[in-house]
């Protein structure tokens, strides 16, 4: 069976990229379509209108990968916002659980656990997006301050939450490994 092409069929995104200028919105649409992201140009609702009258609707879950691509291609955008719960921002709270020799750091639905003594990542868990098992394999046995950042290698909001957990883990490790 062949893998089907991306971007076919209907689209319901859940997120908007907002711009100052119409030209940047059109450039973003072009860049994202070339990378096979399902997107469409839309008029932002009045309460979300910041700069121009054009926005790009995206699948909100793909926000981290899209932000990285737009930055790589020098596309200037103002911000990315969810279409529902428009005043909501990305969750910033993290919680740390002490398992004696290990610390588990949890950010939203994602967890990263490292060994206090060595700083090695011993497990990641939670989430449900397809890049998470990839990162599970990529991060294990690496030190928290040497492992790649999920925000740099992932594409989804699950990856972004794992990155939040890694950021806190690095701080804890730098401050003495939580020991």
């Amino acid at each position: 069976m062949a893998i089907l092409k991306k971007g076919k069929g209907a689209f319901a995104g859940g997120g908007l990229v907002l711009f100052d200028e119409v030209q940047e919105a059109m450039k973003a649409e072009n860049v994202l379509k070339k990378a096979e992201y399902p997107v469409r140009l839309v008029a932002p609702p009045p309460e979300l209108r910041r700069g121009c009258d054009l926005a790009v609707e995206i699948n909100l879950v793909e926000q981290p990968g899209i932000e990285r691509l737009l930055k790589q291609k020098d596309v200037c955008y103002l911000e990315i916002r969810p279409l529902k719960g428009r005043d909501a921002g990305i969750l910033e709270i993290v919680r740390v659980t002490d398992f004696s020799d290990w610390l588990m750091v949890k950010a939203a639905n994602m967890k990263l656990t490292f060994e206090k003594k060595s700083g090695k990542i011993v497990n990641t868990s939670g989430g449900g997006c397809p890049d998470i098992p990839v990162m599970h394999a990529e991060l294990l046995e690496k030190r928290v301050d040497e492992a790649p950042r999920p925000a740099d290698i992932g594409y989804t909001l699950c990856a972004l939450m794992l990155d939040r957990a890694m950021e806190e883990s690095r701080s804890l490790w730098k401050a003495g490994g939580g020991a």
Binding site: M1, V61, A108, E115, N123, C129, M161
Partner: protein, 296 residues
């Protein structure tokens, strides 16, 4: 037939459909070797361990490689939308994929056309897309953790990263979240909330909790929630009612963690390896499944 659909972390692996078997610590599906690790692999592995113990037909799996950019996910959506009526699974369990509200709507519409509607189970991002698309009530079973339950309780969030409040493992507040999820019609008919205390909820009412054995070191282990969903799917496929399947799966997962003497560094495969021993010791007592070959 029980069908599990989801992505696996193998770049370029094409859409693959077939009966699941195991070989040397890997799963075999349609000639592809899939690691039994966090995600769909762990779910399929636990389902296979369960059907294997019960001497039932092995699960069917629809898998595709996806490293986060969505190609494999879209292949799975489109194949299911086109073929689910013909495949006619009795149980359809959806797992890791890139959440896509439009594709989820098309899939639910296709499922409605099945001559016999499958028992519909979702975990991980397939649960996110079902909720975000407003189709949670089309599903029979969701298996969220505490953070994902907060997501289901939030009427606006389309992903757990955008939840307005997060209680993590605050078990005292969990009944409130469960109530809110049902009030907003953002959950399946049956909910198995995985956490320090596992809640089994039917149509909004908490009908059971499971908190023994207490193995807190299972929480950091990637894939130990996936194993519960795999077992739930297999037990439903074996003929148990969804709430019975959920209670037994929650108990068995905890006991497998205890048998494996897990630490936060344990891998999910070690927990799955213990399932046959757990079933041999406890399944008759818990379920009435006292001989292999099906539910008595």
């Amino acid at each position: 037939m029980m069908l599990i659909a989801g992505t696996v972390p193998i770049e370029g692996m094409p859409l693959t459909f077939g009966t699941v078997s195991a070989e040397g610590g890997y799963l075999l599906v349609g000639g592809q070797r899939v690691p039994c690790t966090q995600g769909t692999g762990a779910m399929v592995g636990a389902a296979l361990a369960t059907t294997g113990y019960l001497k039932l037909e092995a699960p069917q799996a629809l898998l595709a490689g996806d490293t986060g950019q969505g190609q494999g996910s879209r292949a799975i959506y489109e194949y299911l939308i086109e073929n689910v009526a013909e495949l006619a699974p009795e149980v359809l369990a959806l797992h890791y994929w890139l959440p896509d509200m439009a594709q989820t709507r098309l899939l639910c519409a296709a499922i409605e056309k099945c001559a016999r509607r499958p028992v519909l189970i979702a975990d991980a991002a397939s649960m996110y897309s079902a909720k975000a698309a407003g189709l949670a009530t089309d599903f029979d079973i969701f298996t969220p953790d505490s953070a994902e339950t907060a997501f289901l309780a939030d009427p606006d969030a389309t992903h757990p990263a955008y939840v307005r409040f997060m209680l993590f493992n605050n078990t005292e507040k969990m009944p409130e979240l469960i109530k809110a999820a049902y009030e907003h019609k953002n959950t399946a008919k049956l909910l198995l909330v995985k956490g320090a205390v596992d809640y089994i909820v039917k149509d909004g009412k908490i009908i059971a909790t499971v908190n023994e054995p207490d193995v807190p070191m299972m929480e950091p282990i990637g894939g130990t929630g996936d194993t519960i969903t795999g077992m739930v799917s297999a037990f439903v496929g074996a003929g148990l009612e969804p709430h019975e399947a959920a209670i037994i799966a929650a108990r068995a997962n905890r006991m497998a963690g205890k048998f494996a003497e897990v630490t936060p560094a344990t891998r999910a495969g070690c927990v799955i390896d213990q399932l046959p021993a757990v079933f041999a010791k406890y399944l008759c007592e818990w379920s009435g499944v006292c001989a292999t070959g099906g539910v008595e």
